[in-house]
């Protein structure tokens, strides 16, 4: 585990050597009179999974949505692959906390929806959708409607939809918060496999410390409102081990404990 | 809605429509629509006449009587249907039929059963208003969380206390919403009833003015009626807001 303290954050926020997929520079966000984010400087290394972690109301989802281009920042800028973000773009795809599946559409149409909006022909987009439906483990459910699926399966649909548009950066907003505990664990394991396989940059928002440590290459801890970077941690966990071994690994447990000690004073 | 940086209240657009009404009326393009200002003057004059006052009292009387029975019967039936599955299965189909049936067709039947008088109008108001009150009360009672009832029981609440202090109060937001919708329907009922009976209250005046092509007074009557309907609905909405705060957090 590498712990990068807040003081050194700016210097170390740029990972040496690695490619940077997303650069966040001096982002501030005001909601009317309320300051949600203050002076966020952050780099997200390409091909890695970075987690934004923090107490509720720290602005982690706001930061993710600014990166997604769904809401504008008050000041500062976000660059993805060197280009400044002005709105949503094809190089980014978003996975929603509440799944945001169209209840009137089948799994197949939901997964292919990003491609449908781009004007891709039906056969072509169904072929692509089919591939990612299989990849997230939903083969055989193509013609089901969202209400016929469990919470975990619905979020797999959301994930497949994000994969289908072949974006470089995947933005996941608390994707497992509406999924029950057992399905969540399985899903986390599957997600790690997909991260390994798809070689994309993942930015992940969660409020679960265990989830953050288990999944992430890098954890950015935000302080309470106004959100600032409090700490950056790189859990150095051997990902080749089995999921159960990781969860029992001393390094994993120590990291969880250390983050908890840091966050504890934010809890009322 | 914002205009030139100012927030314009929603209902302000009604003023725009009033101005349009006035212009159309002044232009004399449509015989049916006299200028709004004339109508407003007529309103002031009308409310001072004995005929209007008598008609208004008759109308109000029928309306209040009908609403009183509708609320009492509606809430009792609703509570019964909400708490007892037998009552629900027996009555549910009829309540659902009558809540959306064209009750205007029943008024002629009421006229021969209850005579060409106020009783018919009272029954019409009752029939228009009661069903939606039953349905909303039932929904409110069924929406009372089980844990709240179990809490009452576990702290030793008697049956009476349980209904009076827990179930009824917990369902109050829905009951009030039902009564508000019932009032809106009741106003329609009183107008339809009086129009069809045609010889009492407001219905008689409507008949009189429209037969004599007295458009100014006709619209004056209509405006008073619409204003009264809106005022009543707003009043109940106001009461509703006082209990609505806990509707969301139950």
């Amino acid at each position: 585990m590498r712990n990068i303290t807040a003081q050194a954050a700016t210097a170390a926020a740029r990972p040496a050597g690695a490619d940077v997929a997303v650069e966040v520079r001096g982002i501030c966000k005001m909601y009317n009179e309320i300051e949600a984010l203050r002076g966020i400087d952050l780099d997200f290394p390409a091909g890695k999974l970075t987690t934004l972690l923090g107490p509720s109301g720290c602005g982690k989802t706001t930061l993710l949505k600014i990166v997604a281009g769904l809401i504008p920042a008050t000041s500062g800028e976000v660059r993805v692959n060197g280009n400044t973000v002005t709105g949503p773009g094809p190089e980014r795809a978003f996975v929603f906390q509440d799944f945001a599946l169209m209840p009137w559409a089948t799994v197949m149409r939901n997964v292919g929806f990003g491609l449908e909006l781009k004007g891709m022909g039906k056969n072509e987009r169904q072929a692509i959708a089919q591939k990612y439906i299989a990849e997230v483990g939903l083969s055989g459910f193509e013609n089901k409607y969202p209400h016929e699926l469990s919470g975990g399966m619905r979020q797999r649909v959301g994930l497949a939809r994000a994969f289908a548009v072949n974006a470089d950066v995947l933005l996941l907003d608390e994707p497992f918060s509406a999924v029950d505990e057992q399905n969540r664990r399985k899903f986390q394991e599957d997600l790690l496999e997909l991260v390994e396989k798809e070689k994309k940059t993942f930015i992940f928002v969660t409020h679960s410390i265990e989830e953050a440590v288990y999944c992430s290459d890098r954890i950015v801890i935000l302080s309470r409102r106004p959100g600032r970077i409090a700490q950056i941690i790189e859990p150095e966990i051997d990902r080749s081990a089995s999921p159960d071994a990781i969860r029992r690994d001393q390094g994993y447990l120590d990291t969880v404990e250390e983050i908890w000690q840091g966050l504890k004073h934010y809890v009322d | 809605m914002t205009m030139f940086g100012y927030r314009v209240p929603m209902m302000a657009s009604l003023l725009v429509w009033c101005v349009i009404w006035e212009i159309v009326g002044r232009s004399g393009a449509m015989f049916l629509i006299p200028p709004l200002s004339d109508v407003l003057v007529a309103v002031v004059a009308l409310v001072q006449t004995g005929t209007w006052q008598a008609a208004a009292i008759t109308t109000l009387n029928s309306f209040l009587l009908g609403m009183f029975f509708a609320i009492v019967v509606g809430v009792i039936l609703g509570v019964l249907m909400g708490r007892s599955t037998t009552a629900d299965s027996l009555l549910g189909i009829w309540v659902n039929i009558f809540v959306s049936a064209p009750l205007s067709a029943l008024v002629p039947v009421l006229m021969i059963l209850f005579g060409m008088g106020e009783t018919t109008v009272v029954v019409t108001v009752f029939l228009f208003a009661v069903w939606i009150i039953v349905l909303d009360t039932r929904a409110g009672i069924q929406g009372v969380p089980k844990s709240l009832v179990e809490m009452g029981r576990s702290y030793g609440a008697s049956r009476f206390t349980l209904y009076g202090k827990i179930i009824f109060l917990a369902a109050l937001p829905e009951i009030l919403a039902g009564i508000r919708l019932g009032v809106v329907r009741g106003v329609k009922g009183v107008v339809i009833g009086q129009l069809l009976v045609a010889i009492i209250g407001y219905g008689e005046l409507f008949e009189l003015y429209s037969r004599n092509f007295d458009m100014v007074n006709f619209w004056a009557l209509t405006i008073i009626l619409f204003a009264a309907a809106m005022g009543l609905s707003a009043l109940i909405e106001n009461i509703e807001k006082r209990v609505d705060y806990y509707a969301g957090v139950r």
Binding site: M102 | P102, P108, L113, L196
Partner: protein
Amino acid sequence: MSFPVQANGSSRAVPPSEASFVWRKLSEHRTALWRTASIGLFFLVWEIAGRIPISFAFPTFLETLRAFVTMTLDGSFVAAYAETLQPLVIGIAISAVIGIGLGIVMGLSRFAEWLAAPVFIVLQAAPMAALIPLITFVYGIGLVSKTLAVIMLALPVIVLNGYKAVRNANPSLVAMCYSFQGNWWQRITKIIIPDASPVIFAGLRLGLAAGFIGVILAELLITPTGIGDLITYHRSVADYPEMYAAVVSIILVSTLTLAALEAFELRVLRPEKRKS
């Protein structure tokens, strides 16, 4: 940890008896049974009340039923409904086109909402029936008047439902469409309108219910034609069973139509409420 359930069943297990089988079959159709019982009970009470009789103008259920059958067979219902349903269908069709269009525009544009919403809120809460004598003046006692009566009563609820449905379209789905770079037109046609369609359709159903009230009112007030004429005529000659049969028939027709529309709504527009 649980033990696997014994598939072959224990020897003590009681085979389902004939009685419990019947009972299970019955409870499967519980709602239908209760409905039949409820309707039967209602007719029984009606019959008894008619036999007492509670009023000289209160026929028994059987008399009414006989009248109902006769009027169905001799074609008087067919002729009456041909006349009654015409203004209703035209009025609802016009209200649907105007109402849904206006509702969508009001849901999308803040200015249109500001300008038009209060008017329809007033019209929906106000007793529009009061204006029916007025339209008789301008348009006489023909089809136009009756159609206008239907539109006046049906339009406000259709507009308001459409407007509310579009305004309250699921913001999460709208954000999803935006994040996948859907344009303005795609956002409206692929997300907002499909999301709003169940509520829009429910508005049509409510509009139809109001339209039934309107058309009957018009036939009773303005011009004795169609089913309104059947009611008025049989009342004037004191044929009470026939009169009651006509009243029952219109309630029946409206209830069945509305129920059919509701079933259609559940089946087609709300897959999430369908039984899987």
